[in-house]
């Protein structure tokens, strides 16, 4: 008979209690993985940002447009290698629940600026040739079963079509990105089509964000300062920041999400720790006489401490492992559900490691008090069944 068998049989004295404890650990570890991944997903944009790329937006706020003519002024600033522009379209496909990000972009510069947005060359060319076409992310294509050549009607909620109808875009290409800060669930369409259509309604568009690529060897801080200085006295002052800083500001728009998520995670850990301590104290009470018997047979106080710790660790490691498995198995589905809110939701190995350490820590802490008591129990008292 192995020691493991004794641990297992003791846990199976009350199978329902053990199973419920394991299930609560599964939920807790799954939640910890999910909550931590929300933070890492939000931070992925910051961590993966290109150090040579800058974002320029209105100093008033992200939702205030900048004049298009700023682009030419930026290109004249020393150290600026390339510029491109984006405008948030804010439309939806058929109904508002089918929401995803759409941007009007300049096809001549955008793919050069963002090489992580991988599109076959012939599809980029087809996109350039057709002003009403678009390029969509691979996840989006999969979700709506769109393919090259399909026509996609988009209702312009933020930018209604002047003829009060849906905007129509033909799929010219499907892009794929391997980096977490460039999701696969966005649609990019021609700036020219966007601009000309809005002009028909008498409302020429502005630019939401300009992207700048700094020349190799140029001082990024100098370029940032120069960009802000150039437009200091213009109709719209600008805020220029590195891509990492821009992503950071974007994340803080949600409020202090990491702190909020951290509080929830801590609450989950504390609740499950208390539940496990309770389970182990009940286990100690049931096994008090057995501990007395084992001590009488010659087992030491340390081995009784180990017996209770092993039971606690086994419960938590099993629950934790199952929780990790559930988190791993459901991440694709969760990523799909979270969609544009948290693009690139992927549980990192470090998160799995952190969650495993939490499960192990809960196992150790939950077992500490009952194991300590088991170790200190006097043999004659334990044999009487009193702890």
């Amino acid at each position: 008979m192995s020691s493991f068998k004794l641990v297992w049989r003791n846990l199976m004295r009350r199978p329902l209690r053990s199973i419920l404890t394991i299930l609560s650990l599964v939920v807790a570890i799954f939640l910890i993985c999910g909550l931590r991944t929300l933070i890492t997903t939000l931070n992925a944009g910051v961590e993966n940002a290109d150090s040579r790329r800058l974002a320029v937006m209105s100093a008033t706020g992200l939702f205030v447009e900048l004049p298009m003519k700023y682009q030419a002024d930026m290109e004249r600033i020393p150290g600026v290698e390339l510029t491109t522009k984006f405008q948030w379209f804010g439309g939806y496909y058929r109904s508002q629940k089918n929401f995803f990000a759409q941007f009007a972009i300049d096809p001549d510069t955008m793919f050069d600026m963002y090489p992580e947005c991988q599109v076959p060359a012939q599809e980029i060319e087809a996109f350039r040739q057709d002003r009403t076409s678009c390029v969509i992310g691979a996840s989006l294509a999969k979700e709506f079963e769109w393919k090259v050549g399909d026509m996609i009607p988009i209702i312009g909620a933020l930018h209604p079509h002047p003829e009060d109808k849906a905007w129509e875009f033909r799929v010219a290409g499907i892009y794929h990105s391997d980096v977490p800060n460039f999701d696969n669930r966005t649609m990019f369409f021609h700036w020219t089509y966007f601009e000309e259509t809005l002009k028909q309604g008498g409302v020429p568009p502005g630019v939401g964000v300009f992207s700048i690529r700094v020349e190799k060897g140029a001082n990024v801080d100098d370029v940032i300062r120069d960009v802000e200085d150039v437009f200091h006295d213009s109709e719209q002052r600008v805020d220029c920041a590195t891509e990492a800083e821009f992503q950071r500001q974007f994340v803080t728009m949600f409020g202090n999400v990491p702190l909020f998520v951290g509080w929830i995670g801590s609450g989950v850990v504390l609740a499950i720790l208390l539940a496990c301590v309770n389970t182990m104290l009940m286990a100690l009470r049931e096994q008090t006489t057995d501990i007395g018997i084992l001590k009488a047979l010659g087992f030491t106080d340390a081995s009784m401490f180990g017996l209770l710790i092993a039971q606690s660790l086994f419960l938590c490691v099993l629950g934790g492992a199952l929780g990790l498995l559930v988190a791993w198995g459901t991440q694709g589905m969760i990523a799909e559900r979270l969609g544009t809110m948290f693009p690139g939701y992927t549980i990192r190995p470090a998160t799995f490691g952190f969650a495993a350490a939490v499960a192990l820590g809960i196992g150790l802490l939950a077992g500490l008090v009952p194991a300590g008591r088991a170790g200190r129990l006097r043999c004659v008292e334990a044999l009487r069944g009193t702890d």
């Binding site: 008979m1 004295r13 087992f299």
Partner: protein, 241 residues
């Protein structure tokens, strides 16, 4: 002269109960020879179980010395005492005290885990001990699947599995019917007679005590009379060639 297997010197033990100090053993002196079967009798509260626990190293005396199986128990630390128990003492309790989640074989195997035997050897030893108590066909049964008498026989198999010098039995027949009690007492007697184990049995039952060679009477924590059992003495005399 044979060295005593158990030597109790001026041992005292008190308990606190309800703010009162109860002196259970009062400067007790006692010697027990190796290879003999002793019955420890006395009224309730006379200190029989307390003495048994002290001799088995399950509890510590307030004063005095205990020499059992060649060791002065006062000199041993907690873990040393545990190792000493594992090697020298087998316990048989009134309530059988088997681990309910383990089979008979696994219960008997438990004390063998503290030896250097391999897993296969442990199983072999445990199976042999169960054969010895006539339970070879019940080795995979859990305690709740056994009768009281069978449970106590498993407990005896567990007590002898490591081949200890001393077997301490606390009211081993207290919870058994007459037939089962006779089987258990017969086993203890056999362990003493054939395997030369020193057996110390606490009992209230004069019939049970008749299986012992010597009967030690305790009264109010002190040694009362010590009597020899003529039936066992005659048997021993007959067995000497």
């Amino acid at each position: 002269m044979t060295e005593a297997m158990i030597r109790v010197r001026d041992v005292s033990k008190s308990y606190q109960r309800g703010g009162e100090t109860l002196r259970v053993l009062d400067r007790l002196n006692l010697e027990m020879e190796p290879g003999r079967f002793y019955a420890l009798m006395g009224p309730s509260g006379s200190g029989k179980t307390t003495l048994l626990n002290l001799i088995g190293g399950l509890d510590h005396p307030d004063a005095g010395d205990l020499h059992v199986a060649g060791a002065n128990l006062s000199d041993l630390s907690g873990s040393e005492l545990a190792h000493w128990r594992a090697a020298n003492v087998g316990f048989v309790f009134q309530g059988f005290n088997l681990i309910p989640v383990l089979s008979a074989l696994e219960n008997v195997e438990l004390p063998l885990k503290l030896t250097s035997l391999s897993r296969a050897e442990r199983k072999k030893h445990a199976a042999y001990a169960l054969e010895l108590v006539g339970l070879a066909d019940r080795m995979h049964h859990r305690p709740r699947q056994l009768s009281g008498g069978q449970e106590q026989r498993v407990a005896i198999a567990r007590a002898v599995a490591t081949d200890p010098k001393v077997i301490l039995a606390d009211e081993p027949t207290g919870d058994l019917d007459r037939k089962s009690a006779e089987q258990v007492l017969g086993l203890l007697e056999r362990l003493n007679r054939e395997f030369k184990k020193t057996v110390l049995m606490v009992t209230h039952d004069p019939h049970a005590a008749e299986h012992a060679q010597s009967i030690v009477h305790l009264d109010k924590g002190q040694l009362g009379r010590l009597e020899e059992n003529p039936r066992r003495a005659a048997e021993v005399a007959r067995s000497v060639p």
